[in-house]
């Protein structure tokens, strides 16, 4: 084990959280935000649906799924950028778990 600069470690953490905060804002707007303004959004039509109904039945779910894949992919990228190696993680994680 070797010590690293705390500021650099925090930079890793902050970078991850910045993306996550962005995803959660999109999540909030596409679910609660659309519901809050459902009446006024219902005048817009998309693929035959009133917009508020489209978001509830399809739009929000598709956005959620995309956000989860983007998160997984971007997090992998950040790990790689900082030199973290997944196969090593697997070895460590296997040995490190609390086994009863």
């Amino acid at each position: 084990m070797k010590k690293i600069d705390r500021a650099k470690a925090d930079q890793y953490f902050k970078e991850k959280n910045r993306y996550m905060a962005l995803y959660l804002v999109i999540w909030l707007v596409s679910s609660f935000g659309v519901v809050l303004f459902a009446e006024s959004l219902s005048t817009i039509t998309l693929n035959g649906f009133p917009f508020h109904y489209f978001m509830g039945a399809q739009g929000s779910i598709v956005i959620f799924i995309i956000l989860l894949y983007v998160n997984a992919k971007v997090s992998d990228g950040i790990d790689k950028k900082y030199g973290i190696d997944e196969s090593k993680n697997e070895q460590i994680s296997y040995g490190k778990t609390l086994d009863h």
Binding site: N47, I61, L68
Partner: protein, 555 residues
């Protein structure tokens, strides 16, 4: 015996043989196999297992019917039950995986270093999972009962025997692969009817693209009939109820112990993130199809069934009228069945649709098998959660730390059998309809575990006294609100199914206030919480961040 019965029964028996075969083949040999499947399940298969674990009788049988009857207001279930995966995958799953325990109560007990917190969490797990499994068992009772044309109570008992057998025998390892098979069965069973209906009605085999126009048309039909438009918002409850229900289902999803434990079965934090993504994709296939199901069924009922002679109704109506779930009384005595004269229970929409759309015996049997897969897989996961809370968190961690592995497995298996039988007894006379019972389980999870886990992972200052106060206050407030709302006392029009919003708020405040009023957790625990911010190769120790020697850390 008619052809329909023979076809349905053989499909169900065939799928059951498959599940039991898989359970026997993967019989648990060690404790870690039993609880977390040896921690080596690949993310994509774990995603399918999460999907089957997650999609219960309420999703498979009840969801499309709920949307059909409530219109837009039913979509709170769709958004709530999918949106929670973001909270779970971003804020909890990878961090909980790095902590590396077997169960949720074990995380809470060790993170807060308190046996009291551990026991309260174990009891909450048992209450939540038990409530949830009552809904599953009564759901499987309805399906088995209708299929074998026996009383639903006898059907429930058959379900109890099946669940007790494979959950007790296989443990988590058996359940994982059984659930993968169950996911495949249930999603095929759900998609085939909706694809065929889409072809029949719109000529397009992709229901997701084709039913938009139909929703608009149903709105027009509603206007002609003088009923409120299908897509009009907040006609069956206030806007605040819609958002409270959505929040309850989201936060409850992130706090459900039997779902969280599935993230322990993968190998790393990265695998936990990918599991969450695959899980929501697989779950999304069903949740994107449910509103299409609802629209097609409603359209067929409005245009083909309503308006026909009462003496000339299709034959399927009779068998459902006999069950008491469908009423087609000619109220105004003109000999014609009007739309307003049809009263349909939301629990039968999916089960009856293949008959409504005339899809043939094979599809009807397949849907019955899919519904059984959904009920059994969720009930199996719930039983594992109950048994691990009891056998692992209470019996082993608190009372008998020197129990042998064999002894602990025996306790785990017996607690599954006993819990299943007890839940089955309650399910014979369920205290509410299936979706309602399930919503209570979510409200309890969002009022107890969601704040405890969120603060446990993200706020190192949260301590044992705080989490104990939080869980007790959350449990108390949620239960009190459910009972008050059922007796007619509500705030902002929020009914019992939205109770989680009050429970979660009260629990969070209690946790923060009590934590700040008492002593901070030990240095060791605070460092363990800091450690959850970093991947496996990085460690937080003595106020510094360390990496393994072979890592070339770049910044």
């Amino acid at each position: 015996m008619d052809t329909q019965f023979l076809v349905s029964t053989s499909i169900i028996l065939l799928t059951f043989a498959l599940y039991i075969g898989i359970a026997v083949y993967n019989k648990a040999k060690a404790t870690s196999d039993f609880y977390v499947a040896g921690r080596g399940v690949p993310p994509i298969f774990n995603g399918m297992a999460i999907g089957a674990d997650w999609m219960s009788a309420a999703s498979f049988i009840g969801l499309a019917g709920t949307v059909m009857i409530l219109g837009y207001d039913g979509l709170a279930y769709i958004m709530g039950w999918t949106g929670g995966y973001l909270l779970l995958t971003f804020l909890l799953a990878p961090q909980l995986r790095k902590y590396g325990r077997y169960t949720v109560p074990e995380f809470i007990g060790d993170r807060y270093n308190s046996h009291t917190a551990r026991v309260i969490a174990a009891i909450c797990t048992i209450i939540i999972s038990f409530t949830y499994s009552i809904g599953q068992l009564s759901g499987s009772g309805v399906v088995i009962g209708r299929l074998f044309e026996i009383d639903a109570k006898v059907g429930t008992m058959i379900g109890v025997v099946l669940i007790a057998f494979y959950a007790a025998f296989g443990g988590m390892k058996g359940i994982t692969w059984t659930q993968v098979a169950q996911y495949v069965v249930l999603i095929i069973a759900y998609l085939i009817p909706v694809i065929f209906m889409s072809l029949q009605i719109t000529g397009n085999p992709a229901p997701w693209l084709s039913y938009g126009e139909l929703v608009g048309k149903i709105g027009e039909l509603d206007r002609e009939l003088g009923v409120s438009e299908y897509f009009a918002p907040f006609t069956n409850g206030t806007k605040w109820q819609f958002m409270a229900l959505m929040f309850t289902l989201m936060a409850g999803t992130a706090g459900l112990p039997h779902v969280i434990v599935r993230f322990y079965t993968v190998s790393t934090m990265k695998a936990a993130r990918w599991s969450g993504a695959w899980a929501l994709l697989f779950i999304g296939l069903l949740y994107l199809s449910a509103p299409a199901y609802a629209a097609f069924s409603r359209f067929i009922l409005m245009t083909k069934v309503a308006g026909s002679q009462i003496s000339d109704l299709p034959s399927w109506t009779k068998s459902w009228v006999d069950t008491g779930k469908l009423q087609v009384a000619d109220a105004n005595g003109d000999g014609i069945l009007q739309w307003k004269e049809i009263i349909i229970s939301n629990d039968i929409v999916v089960m009856a649709t293949p008959e409504i759309a005339n899809l043939g015996v094979f599809v009807i049997g397949l849907v019955a098998a899919g519904a059984m897969a959904a009920a059994l897989s969720t009930a199996g996961g719930l039983m594992i959660a109950i048994s691990s809370s009891f056998a692992h968190d209470i019996y082993y961690r608190v009372f008998k730390p020197n129990a042998t592995e064999k002894n602990r497995l025996a306790v785990a298996r017996w607690s599954i059998v006993i819990a299943t039988v007890l839940a089955g007894i309650v399910a014979l006379n369920p205290p509410g309809v299936i979706t309602q019972i399930v919503a209570w389980a979510f409200a309890l999870a969002s009022g107890t575990f969601f704040p405890a886990l969120l603060l446990g992972v993200w706020w190192k200052r949260s301590n044992a006294q705080g989490v104990i106060a939080g869980m007790l206050v959350g449990l108390g407030v949620t239960l009190t609100y459910i009972f008050l709302a059922r007796s007619g006392v509500t705030l902002f029009g929020i009914i019992d199914t939205g109770a989680g919003v009050f429970g979660a708020t009260a629990a969070t405040i209690a946790n923060i206030v009590v934590s700040l009023m008492t002593k901070a957790p030990s240095q060791k625990i605070q460092e363990e919480v800091m450690d959850l911010r970093y991947p496996e190769q990085m460690t937080f120790k003595d106020g510094e961040v360390w990496v393994n020697d072979d890592v070339d850390f770049k910044a």
